[in-house]
């Protein structure tokens, strides 16, 4: 193992966290957020800041280089300083009961979280980058971005590289190229630190989001379930881009739920930033973003008296997230998004192949109930919703917002050119990764609710 490479990669990840912390401070406003949530969300925001910064730098002809952290920090620092001058006020959510002592179960869950994160880290560092999807798509783009400025990089246009999906967003490749820029070489092991870092950010963000509303035990349970899911551990070891998308979706819905419950404009700004990250992470992120905005505005999910503020909040959320996503979406217009026989979605095909929906629904249990990937996760989530979801409007909203994109995903799968069986084998479980962290949040809040009823 190249120790210098690992240290450089660790330093690169610390700059991601630091940039994200500045962005968090600038967006959050005076309300307090739990430390774990700040840490987890800061990592995601750091990835977004980096993607935006490196994207504009690359358009200007500057390739990813470590010194770019300084101008990015200088841009964010005044906003963070401005917010820091405001007097902090407590969270607007009803405070969770104080628990000065850690129970034996708390300690066991915390040890379990540490163990599974260490497991993912060991796997990631023992296996150099070898996942063909990552090499052929995200890794190729990362190398190309390091080699040449974005506006002329032939790897984003050359027909002989069409398999690398030109229109896939650049957050993940830019994060990889950031690590390699710090390493000074293409280090296939050091770059793998990114995967466990995202899993750790999910664990921290989940703990913070749940702890605001529930006991420490339930918050630890949510984190433990997320980072012990075999599919999530595998994704972090293999460095696939579905896991950061899951992180952004968790944060988008977590902050939106907070904004709905407390009318906290800081939470709405943070949700919008995480929503912008969705679009920068994967194309499916657009569906997740659209569904989140829709659920925020949908009258059936909103108490009648609160309809107008919610509609305004939905507009603000969509506008701010859209503004962050716009640079990539505009750039994407100039890219070839026709995958030919290699896949891709068409609405006309979705109509023509509507009967595939039946096959999709009948094949879904095979993947949802795959013990090797998910253990009992999806049945447990379903049970939790049945037990606690019916009477709690906040929980009902979150459940709707988490599940709503499934309809859009189903349409995309039905309207794809690939043979359905092969398509599902390749993507179904990966798509579930987008939802799993948010489902953990839902599960934990449902458990807390069912505890409260007892």
């Amino acid at each position: 193992v190249n120790t210098a490479g690992l240290l450089a990669a660790a330093a690169a990840l610390l700059t991601v966290e630091a940039l994200g912390a500045l962005a968090f401070a600038g967006l959050a406003g005076p309300r307090r957020f739990p430390l774990a949530l700040r840490l987890g969300a800061s990592f995601a925001l750091g990835l977004l800041v980096l993607a935006l910064g490196l994207f504009f730098a690359a358009l200007a002809g500057i390739r990813p280089q470590s010194w770019l952290a300084l101008p990015l920090a200088a841009l964010l620092a005044p906003f963070a300083a401005l917010r820091a001058r405001a007097t902090p006020v407590p969270s607007a959510l009803p405070a969770a009961p104080p628990e000065p002592r850690w129970s034996a179960l708390d300690l066991a869950l915390a040890a379990g979280i540490a163990l599974f994160l260490a497991w993912a880290l060991a796997g990631a560092l023992l296996e150099p980058l070898a996942e063909w999807d990552v090499l052929a798509i995200w890794g190729l783009k990362a190398r190309a971005l390091l080699a040449e400025p974005l506006r002329i990089a032939p790897q984003l246009h050359a027909p002989e590289l069409a398999y690398s999906h030109f229109d896939y967003p650049l957050l993940w490749p830019l994060a990889m190229s950031w690590i390699w820029a710090w390493c000074g070489e293409i280090d296939l092991t050091a770059v793998k630190l990114l995967g466990p870092a995202v899993l750790a950010a999910i664990a921290a963000a989940l703990y913070g989001l749940v702890r605001e509303r529930a006991s420490r035990t339930v918050a630890l349970l949510a984190s433990f379930v997320a980072c012990s899911l075999p599919m999530l551990v595998a994704q972090s070891v293999r460095l696939l881009a579905d896991l950061p998308l899951g992180l952004f979706f968790l944060l988008t819905l977590g902050f939106l739920a907070r904004a709905r419950a407390s009318d906290d404009p800081g939470a709405l700004r943070l949700a919008a930033a995480a929503g912008g990250g969705l679009a920068w992470c994967k194309n499916e992120g657009l569906a997740l973003l659209f569904a989140a905005a829709l659920c925020l505005a949908l009258p059936g999910l909103t108490p009648p008296r609160a309809a107008r503020p919610r509609w305004l909040a939905a507009r603000r959320f969509a506008a701010a997230a859209g503004l962050l996503a716009a640079p990539w979406l505009l750039f994407r217009l100039g890219l070839d998004s026709d995958y030919g026989s290699g896949g891709g979605f068409s609405l006309r095909l979705a109509v023509a192949q509507a009967s595939r929906l039946v096959d999709l629904v009948s094949a879904a249990p095979r993947y949802l109930l795959a013990y090797d990937d998910w253990l009992f996760f999806w049945p447990v989530v379903a049970l939790a919703l049945l037990v606690a979801g019916r009477r709690d409007s906040g929980l009902r909203w979150l459940a709707a917002a988490v599940q709503a994109p499934l309809a859009l995903y189903a349409i995309a799968l039905v309207g794809n050119r690939w043979q359905l069986g092969d398509l599902l084998e390749n993507v179904f479980s990966r798509l579930l990764v987008h939802f799993a962290p948010a489902e953990c949040l839902l599960l934990a809040l449902a458990v807390a609710r069912s505890q409260a009823k007892n």
């Binding site: 023992l126 070898a130 190309a144 080699a147 027909p159 069409a162 026989s341 253990l375 996760f377």
Partner: protein
């Protein structure tokens, strides 16, 4: 017992099963971690590149796992490809390399590992989206000798000698 209490009890049971299952599943990958620990980096990468050999690479692929269950497996082509590309010096930047074996696993790996060299299966650029389109593009160009490759502007050729991959200069010896 009310329906709600029954549901809550079932939920607790489900969570206990989930937590216990997580440890059992992790212990299933312990053997793989131990195997990795005993190997040098090049072999660890080759193992990671081979879906049949790597439990994390098979994650989410329910059909593949069912097909592989209980079978003894030959090493995957992707493992040999990864070992070759990660372990061999790349061609010089800007070199044009003719890929004599039109397999997507080689093509994708070569594009990643050898960037900024130019890798192609034919002199004229064509749209490559998958294995089939790669083979179609390759079928349009049938060089009979190194002279044909040189005339088409290729500097290097990636070919196979027996089971071993080999990069050689057009008209020259292997590197």
């Amino acid at each position: 017992m009310s329906v709600h209490r029954l549901g809550a009890a079932l939920l607790v049971c489900g969570l206990v099963l989930q937590a216990g299952g997580a440890f059992i599943a992790a212990s299933g990958t312990l053997g793989h971690l131990q195997r990795l620990l005993a190997l040098p980096e090049l072999e660890r990468g080759a193992l990671a590149a081979s879906e049949p050999d790597d439990p994390w690479a098979r994650a989410g692929q329910v059909r593949l796992r069912a097909e592989l269950a209980g079978r003894s497996l030959a090493p995957a082509a992707s493992a040999a490809a990864w070992r070759f590309f990660a372990g061999s010096p790349p061609p010089p930047p800007g070199a044009r390399v003719y890929l004599a074996i039109p397999l997507s696993v080689l093509y994708y790996d070569a594009q990643f590992f050898w960037l900024p060299a130019e890798i192609a299966v034919a002199p004229a650029p064509s749209r490559i989206v998958d294995d089939a389109s790669l083979k179609r593009a390759a079928a349009a160009f049938r060089p009979r000798s190194d002279a044909d490759l040189a005339a088409a502007g290729f500097d290097y050729v990636l070919t196979a000698r027996g089971a071993r991959l080999e990069l050689r200069r057009v008209g020259g010896e292997p590197r």
